[in-house]
Structure formats: C-alpha cells, structure tokens
Symmetry: C2
Subunit: 245 residues, 2 copies
C-alpha cells in the first residue's frame, strides 16, 4: 500500500471496492447533511466528506463541484424541511408559526442559518418561503412595504439562530468566561446597569444546560414578538410603510 502524505485513505483500504455503486450528487448531499448535523456546516472538511463516502476528495468535485456547491445543496435541503404555515392564517400568526417552527430545524443543522441569511435568494427552497411570506404580507395590506417587512422578520429570527449557532461552537471554557464577566458586576455600585444583568444571570443556573436552553427559548420568543410588534407599527402609520427613496 502506497503512502498517502496529503490525503486520508478513503475508508482505510487502498482502493474503493469494485462492487460499490458510483457515488451520486444525492449521495454526496446525504453524507454532507449527516456531517452537518454532527459537526456543523462550517466544521466538516471536503476531506472528511470524501472519507465518509470512501472516495478521494477529487471524486466529490467531479459530481457536484467545490465545497460551496455542496454547502449550498445542504442549505437547500435543510430550508426545505421547514414546513410553511397555511396561507389562510393572518400575517402575524403565519410569521409566528414560520419563525418558531424554523428554529429547531435550523439549529439541528448548525451553520445553515448563516448561509440562509447570506445567500437566501439562490437557495430554491428559500425563494418558495419568500414568495409565500410576501403574499401573506401583501394581502394584509403592507403594499410596497411587504418586501422590507419580510426581510426584517426573517432576518430578526434567523440571525438570532445564527448567533445561537456561533455560541454553541464556543468551548465550555469560553462559556464560563462569558457568564463570569456578567456575574462579576452583580454588586458593582459603579456599574448599576451591568449589576441588573449580573443579578439576572446568577439567579438562574448558569451551568445547567436545560436552564440555559430555556433562557434561549424565552429570548427567541421575545425577539419574534418584538419584531412582529415593530412591523405591526407600520400598519397604523402607513406613511412609514415602505423604504424611503
């Protein structure tokens, strides 16, 4: 067996067994989806993906293209998993359902939220979501303000998922430094604003993962509600409904 100085051996044995069928674009995305679930979209390498498929990295390029092409396909699959609410719901309920149901799907595949907000329009399933959402807003009377409102509502929620994904990537040591930095000012008379945060942080468990998850759930729901309130405000002030210019 030859030495492999710059690539991991695909599957550990020298050559792909002859009885195995050729890899396919669908199979590549299946494997990338599994890696995204365990590692996150930005954490797996093309070499890991190739190893999972038991081929050399070059084979993946032959079927789909570079890392970005694979990641785009993964994002399309994941966004397609988000079920779109019924078009008969009122706009506020429609978006509330979409954003609350979208979070667990996106969080399961860390890094997809970032890609969604970055290149949404070239993700086919995101275009479908956008079409439905804008229709709902148009029918609710948002007129020219519908596109800005759509982008604002989805950005608010999905960028928060992106931040949650980023923080999940933090090492335990970094998480402790974060909680500690806030708790340190709990009784600081010079920084009465931070003292309030410190008190809030220390009153709940900062080490219990379930307590932290509950805090994240609450702040996500708060974010969705405040953004819906913010957009609702333009309906009562139609002069400010669209973007200027």
């Amino acid at each position: 067996m030859p030495a492999m100085p710059s690539s991991p051996a695909p599957g550990g044995r020298g050559r792909r067994p002859v009885d195995r069928p050729p890899i396919t674009p669908t199979g590549i995305v299946d494997a990338a989806l599994r890696l995204t679930e365990t590692e996150g979209l930005d954490a797996w390498s093309t070499r890991q993906l190739a190893a999972a498929l038991e081929v050399w990295p070059r084979a993946v390029y032959h079927h789909i293209g570079d890392r970005d092409a694979v990641a785009d396909a993964v994002a399309d699959r994941v966004v397609g998993m988000i079920s779109l609410p019924s078009q008969e719901l009122a706009w506020r309920e429609w978006f509330s359902a979409l954003l609350l149901e979208g979070r667990p799907v996106l969080r399961r595949y860390r890094g997809v939220a970032r890609r969604l907000v970055r290149i949404g329009p070239i993700i086919p399933s995101a275009l479908t979501m956008m079409d439905r959402g804008i229709l709902v807003l148009q029918e609710a009377g948002f007129a020219e303000g519908a596109t800005a409102a759509y982008r604002y509502l989805t950005n608010s929620a999905f960028t928060l998922v992106m931040v949650e994904d980023d923080r999940a990537e933090n090492l335990p040591e970094a998480r402790e430094r974060l909680a500690g930095a806030l708790a340190a000012h709990r009784d600081d008379p010079e920084r009465r604003g931070l003292a309030a945060v410190g008190a809030a942080v220390t009153s709940r468990g900062t080490d219990d993962p379930e307590a932290i998850a509950a805090l994240e759930d609450d702040f996500y729901a708060y974010t969705v509600e405040r953004s819906l309130d913010g957009v609702a405000a333009v309906l009562s002030r139609p002069d400010r409904g669209g973007l200027s210019g």
Copy 2:
C-alpha cells in the same frame, strides 16, 4: 540562507534587524487592526500578521497568545471606537444614535460585529456600552425588561451589520447570481410574491455600487426603527415587558 518550507520569511530577509525594538502586545494589535481593515477579521492569518511585524509566527504567541486572543483585542479596540450617546437623551434617541453611529465603525472592520454579538460580555468596551444602555432603559421605565430590550436592540442592528459583512465577502459572481435569482421572477404569474421583489430589484440599479449602498442604508435604518417600535410596544403593555419565567 536556509530554506523555509513551512513559514514565510519574516520581511523577506533571513533575520530581524538587530536595531529594531522588540514587538509589543500594543504593536501586535495595531498591525492586526490594519489587517482587519483591509482583509477582515476572519481573513488574515497568523502568518500574515507575523510577516507584517517582520517576525516568525511564534513571536506573536509569546506576547499575546493564539489567534483568538489577538482577535478579541482587535474587537475591543474597534468597539471602543463607537462613541456612546449622552445619557441625557431619551431612550429611543439614545439607541437610535448608538446603532446608527456604530454601523460605519463596525463595517470598517469587517468581522468585528460577529465577534461582538458572539462574545460581547468578555469585550471590556462592550460591557461599558451595555452598562450605559441598560441604565437608559431602566430610567425609561423598562424595569426587569431592560436587559432583554438591550440585547434585542443591539442584536437587531449588529447582526444586520454581520450579514452585511458576510455579503461583502461574496465574490462579484455570487452577487450577480443573487440579484439575478430575484429578478428572474419579475413577471412570473405563478410567484406573485417574488414578482414584487423582482420589480423592486430591477427598478434600481443592481450593478451600481452606490445604489446598492443606498439600499443597504435604507434597510438598516428601517431595521433600527422597527426594532425601536417593537420595544416601545412593551412600554404600553407592561404585562409583557420582561421575559417569562
């Protein structure tokens, strides 16, 4: 001169001139700040930073530590450049000023916004900003809701800067695909929601950088206003002011 198989030559010559003073933590952050301005916080490498200082990579580790430590110091410098509004302003004006003035600073140093929303509490200058902001909200009557409102307002604006940074990283080719994907549905009767976006996109110049910047400015201002509206809504409904639990 010996071969350097795994590191660039610092400064191109074999050895650092004896007359140069030793590098310092401050000098390292100065150089990293310049690289962040030209390349973005995530785009420069420790090797590039070392080359700019005309030392071998190991020397940087000796004075500050790893890449994360340098990036944290850069983020602290940049956030410290954001001037805090007068504490005498009303809460809405205070946040409007902070978020509108914070954007150009953060965009000048791409990637810092992401780090700010990810590890804010361990960035000293971000803690100062947080202390002031929460005081302003407390004095405006937000009570226990002040910390959630602070996080919501700063997240809304700074995560949008993060998305703008990400999109600035897109290659021209990817930017065209994005605009094209929306414009493609301009006259699509099957997708009336997307048609509205397509029309809006094609009515303005999609290639003129100034027109694109103006659209981004408008949407940022819209985002800030909607978030302020969303938070203002809790003042009139005090039962929903804080987070549940």
